[in-house]
């Protein structure tokens, strides 16, 4: 809610299917969005959609912690990228 005051566009969703629809709308029907922030608690349902855009320069889909605090999904994305590039986890965590 607060992000709206900063001038970002926000899309409130109530269910996972709504989130999926909203994300599809943002990614497929327009090129206007370069960065999309998604709360982590919704991300597990949207995994496939997010993975589709991993290798595209736009949009950048970034997970942010929700109201409940960090679930560690953002960090696991980092780990996955390292594993993909190096072949093994070299961060040691």
């Amino acid at each position: 809610m607060g992000f709206k005051a900063l001038g970002l566009e926000t899309f409130a969703v109530e269910s996972e299917s709504e989130a999926l629809a909203a994300l599809r709308k943002l990614t497929r029907e327009s090129d206007d969005y370069a960065i999309i922030y998604i709360e982590e608690n919704l991300a597990s349902a949207l995994e496939h959609e997010i993975a589709r855009y991993k290798d595209n320069p736009t949009p950048a889909i970034i997970l942010i912690p929700g109201r409940e605090g960090s679930l560690g999904l953002g960090q696991s994305a980092l780990r996955a990228a390292v594993e993909r590039a190096v072949g093994t986890n070299i961060l040691g965590d």
Binding site: K4, A5, I62
Partner: protein, 217 residues
């Protein structure tokens, strides 16, 4: 292996030698590319790690502050206060080229330059806690933007590294050994032919000598 399908001629041998040379040079170049990408990637990963922690902490704090604000104000009031934003953000994007990977560079411009414009409400009817929460959010937002850039860069680099690594390995463990094997096969075959020709010539010479001079051993 594939050596059964190649024709053992000098022309093919030369072609294969050329290809081996190219493959070796390509392998070296790709290996260098991979190493450099990896170096850049590790920098980005480190940056990303720091930023991610900072953003997550900042957001948690901002949300907590928001929680406080919403517990003081009525939900209707809160919603009304935030209903219509005065500030708007334009996000511009450029591309930067890192080792032939196009990574995004974001720069944002706010419509109103006055930093106080993030508060889209009058101060009379809202609590100070809300101001506090928005202030925290505004500060974390810059980090979030940088995080988006770094994270996207990281993902794109990871993809490119994976591709390059596959190519390096394919060259190193498949292409180059196969070419070397084929070259060896052809040169051995050619040598064999040469020997056969030599022996045949000796034999013919013997026969010719015998015919001409009735020469016998």
């Amino acid at each position: 292996m594939a050596s059964t399908t190649i024709t053992p001629t000098r022309m093919v041998l030369n072609q294969l030698k050329g290809r081996l040379k190219t493959a070796r040079r390509g392998h070296k170049l790709l290996k260098d590319k991979r190493d450099e990408l990896m170096r850049q990637f590790m920098d980005v990963v480190k940056q990303n790690k720091v930023l991610r922690i900072r953003v997550e902490e900042g957001l948690t704090q901002a949300f907590a502050a928001m929680q406080v604000a919403s517990s003081i104000m009525s939900p209707e009031m809160l919603e009304q206060a935030l209903l219509y934003p005065r500030q708007s953000v334009e996000l511009g994007m450029d591309f930067k080229n890192i080792m032939s990977v196009n990574v995004p560079l974001y720069h944002f411009t706010t419509k109103n330059n006055d930093p106080s414009e993030i508060y889209p409400y009058g101060f009379a009817q809202t609590s100070g806690e809300l101001d506090d929460a928005l202030d925290k959010l505004a500060r974390v937002f810059e980090d979030m933007l940088e995080l988006a850039q770094v994270e996207k860069t990281m993902q794109l680099l990871a993809e490119e590294i994976e591709k390059t690594r596959r190519r390096v390995n394919a060259l190193e463990y498949v292409m180059i050994p196969e070419l070397e094997g084929n070259i060896k096969y052809i040169s051995m075959k050619l040598e064999e032919n040469e020997n056969a020709t030599k022996v045949r010539l000796l034999k013919v010479k013997e026969m010719v000598l015998q015919d001409a001079h009735h020469y016998k051993q």
